[in-house]
Symmetry: none
Subunit: 226 residues, 2 copies
């Protein structure tokens, strides 16, 4: 899947230029023209990289950067700052803001692409999404599509696997039936929410003792514990 990049700038021409070049290079680009939009989209999409202009109306790039760092969802998304003044560089890259790189305007598309590639390479090698989820004797192997209990494989259908995966990935957090329908069944809200119960039952039957991980929270939904 293409790496997703969020470009934040209030000048339409600048946005267009950057967007064009990044798309050309094979990235999925979304844009924002102000701080509010940027924060919203960053939260919603958790892009792989954010290109952020410092000069923005209302909320400037520094503030956006700080705010992004405070939110767990976006705290680790690398940021490339676009700044007009070379004097600001120290502040941008320092501890106070913690951007990952910078570019001074005006810059060439080639420069930008180089930085983007460099940053993405660094981050992608470091933290990839977990391929295995382990809870005591229970192991969920995502790429292999296998669940084991005490090293014994548990036969499971596709829906059941997705259900336990979604629950385990949000371990501890209660998921409503509607949420599960959205995330497991993928926008088929024309399905009866009671269906979730049935699948939970089948899941519990199959995983046997491991079903202690699956909590019912009456009136709310289900939760994977521990």
């Amino acid at each position: 899947m293409k790496p997703r990049i969020l470009v934040v700038d209030d000048e339409p021409e600048a946005v267009e230029l950057v967007e064009f070049n990044l798309k050309q290079a094979g990235y999925a680009v979304t844009t924002a023209v102000d701080g509010a939009e940027a924060l919203k989209k960053a939260r919603a999409q958790t892009p792989d990289l954010i290109v952020l202009d410092v000069m923005l109306p209302e909320m400037d790039g520094f503030e956006i950067c700080k705010t992004l760092r405070l939110d767990a969802v976006t705290a680790k998304v690398p940021i490339i700052m676009l700044t007009a003044k070379a004097a600001e560089i120290d502040r941008v890259l320092g501890l106070e803001l913690g951007a990952d790189d910078y570019l001074t305007k005006p810059f060439s598309p080639r420069e930008l692409l180089l930085r983007v590639k460099k940053i993405l390479a660094r981050f992608q090698s470091e933290e990839k999404p977990k391929e295995q989820l382990r809870f005591g004797d229970l192991l969920i192997d995502l790429p292999r599509h296998i669940v084991t209990w005490k090293n014994k494989p548990i036969e499971m259908t596709a829906t059941e696997f997705k259900l336990i995966t979604v629950l385990a990935q949000r371990a501890g957090r209660v998921q409503s039936r509607d949420q599960l329908l959205r995330d497991v069944w993928e926008y088929d809200s024309l399905i009866d929410t009671r269906t979730v119960d049935t699948h939970m039952r089948r899941l519990r039957e199959k995983i046997g003792a491991a079903s202690k991980h699956l909590d019912t929270v009456r009136g709310v939904g289900y939760r994977f514990v521990e």
Copy 2:
């Protein structure tokens, strides 16, 4: 939880129209017909947004707006002004009053909804709702749907959890039984207000020593302290 909107207008028809449309769109709506009521409800409920008519008897919208901004509780609640004259717009949106948007009467419901959505999106993305509420040894974890006292979990039903959450989120401010019925039970005011008492009792039993946080304010309602 639905975003809460306070609609302030002295004309019953106008209120009804706005209320109907906002409710239709999935918002929780309360109304006020004059300045005094508006300020009172705004303080008590801290809605997510206030729709405020400028033309009001006694205290007009400008004054209400200023007063709301002076009170720390309501200072940051976004306000959409309903104004008759285009000439007033600058004053409304300027520093003097600090409303967040305006609509000139007459306006279409669709227009209003658009503004409401826009404003709410902006503010919600800026300040994320807290996921945990901590008061000394008492911890309320919203996504996990768990309450702990000195790190020991306290078993709790869905309603009890919602009750303590609503109270804790408005810590320090007294909540009337009617308010609690609205916010915890969500518009089932066909329920006896004394039911709140029963749930408070069960809550106090369950949380044991932590019930020192739950004050009874005789003749008014309940309050979460500290």
